[in-house]
Amino acid sequence: MLRRVLSGDGLAQFIVFLSATAILALTALLVWELWSHSGPSRAKFGFDFLRTSTWDPVAGVFGALPYIYGTVVTSAVALLIAIPFGVGAAIFLAELAPPRLSDAMTFLIELLAAVPSVIFGLMGIFVLLPLLLKVIPGFKDAAGFLPIFSGPFYGPSLLSAGIVLSIMVAPFIISVSREVLLAVPKDLREAALALGATRWETTWDIVVPFARRGIMGSVFLALARALGETMAVTMVVGNTPKIAASLLAPGYSIAAVIANEFVEATTDLHISSLIELGLVLFGLTIVLNGAARLLILATSGRASR
């Protein structure tokens, strides 16, 4: 043992072991910092922090409900758009496109996932908002009677943020769902086709249900990303802490308020409330990521058997 240590072999093993352990320590430290720095806010507001909607730094009262609401609504809009698009494109890439074309298009879609979020925000402000200002009035004439499309529209809104988010998370749904669909055994498809099902019936009634848990996993991953996305949302959501039923009204999100107020926060209670918001976000994404991984694992495990 001593000779191995002196020869450097044991030392090398010890160093790489230490690095691996450092990651555990770092993650534990991350949780601890979030927990301890949010202490004052947790002690003062308890669970009311999540239930009340007054956010007043001057009076020192902090309730996070409008931010939680905005985060949930923008993410929901994003998924509502991204799921059909993403799963549809994944079906095309896995079932229809010839392998070379499929690989090339997947490559491009993965590049789309690499575009920095601040670029999406930039495009959101200067391309999407003017476009929506042209389109929405006509749309309101048709669907304005619905509460979710009521009220005036000025551009920055929950809907705008949801649309930008949908473009950002769709690549995740596409590339993960494609992998999952490709892992579905070939004999299932052949059996369905042999029974006389059309290509679409085979895909929709046989292949997709088989892969549904993995597809759900990809949706969870996308949701986790949408919840935590900061820059693009901050730039188009309107940054107004109100709970409005209409998607056309401006809103706010957890990540956006952290980004906007952190530097300007002067009181300890304000900072600790913002850090508690970070803790909430952290908890949400941890749960979603964990669930996503289990689901994807379950599907690929089932397919490989």
């Binding site: 991350l30 720095h37 890439l93 879609i109 789309l112 979020s117 996305e229 913002l274």
Partner: protein
């Protein structure tokens, strides 16, 4: 209804055939739309920003509101410094831990590390920013150092997973050959396994760097921003992504122009690195494992 459809003698019912063609066509349309968004974004940025890129952009400091001209030289250097620091923090830890996972660890401990790394990878970047704030900014203030730590932490998970993946793709026979010649395990890893995987390792690190290069949220309250040059590591510094954000939400026409120019440059760099690294990986794999 479906049973009725199956009963149609001599071929498929019109309805089933129509649904088939329509739905399959729709999936194709969705795919083309997704891909065309990339080209639209790239093309739009090129048109808006490409022509605003000039020598001043790379050499001048930002000018006060009201004056036109000026550049983002300080932000370019600031970003480079932050990324250098992030690489120095994230890559060694991730790389060494990746070696541990690929070459040394037992299954139990490895799965714990892998799970925790995946969790860390899923943490929103703004939360990592809070972490760096609590760790560094509360002690020495807004600084290049704090920004580098934030991005460095973000680099660890990908550095680890890509190291592990590429080391595992090296055939076991190479390791056995080296050890049969009397090399110790650490020597085998250092002189045989790592060199065999070096193309993948470097490409993985390039992708990793490209991913954090566009990160804005964790820099807002760590590196903060600066209208002037930032000396050393303990001063606030401007960075390219944060500058794009600040300029984009301002009401000034000339700042918008600069934001487009900076956005175009950032996107072009990120995509260039992505394409290069991915084609190196694809080329390396095709003649080795496939």
């Amino acid at each position: 209804m479906r049973a009725a459809a199956f009963q149609t003698a001599g071929g498929l019912s019109f309805r089933r055939r129509a649904v088939n063609v329509f739905m399959l066509g729709l999936t194709g349309v969705f795919t083309v739309l997704a891909v065309s968004i990339l080209f639209f974004v790239l093309g739009y940025l090129f048109v808006q920003g490409g022509f605003s890129l000039n020598w001043n952009f790379f050499t001048k400091l930002p000018v006060p509101v009201g004056e036109t001209g000026g550049g983002m030289a300080n932000a370019l250097v600031g970003s480079a410094k932050v990324l250098l620091l992030a690489t120095c923090i994230g890559v060694p830890i991730g790389f060494l831990a990746g070696i541990h996972l690929a070459e040394y660890s037992g299954a139990g401990y490895a799965s714990v590390i892998r799970f925790v790394t995946d969790l860390l990878n899923g943490v929103p970047s703004i939360v990592i920013g809070i972490f760096a704030y609590a760790l560094i900014v509360t002690r020495i203030g807004f600084s290049t150092l704090a920004g580098g730590v934030a991005l460095g932490v973000m680099m660890i998970p990908i550095a680890l997973r890509s190291t592990e993946e590429f080391l595992k793709s090296v055939p076991v026979s190479l390791r056995e050959g080296a050890m049969a010649l009397g090399a110790t395990k650490s020597r085998t890893i250092l002189t045989v396994v790592v060199p065999a995987a070096i193309r993948g390792l470097i490409s993985g690190m390039m992708l990793n760097l490209a991913r954090v290069a566009g990160e804005t949220a964790p820099l807002l309250f760590t590196a903060l921003g600066n209208q002037f040059w930032s000396q050393g590591w303990r001063q606030p510094t401007a960075t390219l992504p944060a500058m794009i954000y600040e300029y984009a939400k301002s009401p000034y026409e000339d700042w918008h122009r600069q934001a487009w120019a900076a956005g175009f440059m950032l996107l072009a760099l990120v995509l260039l690195v992505n394409v290069t690294a991915r084609s190196i990986i694809a080329g390396g794999l095709s003649h080795k494992t496939r």
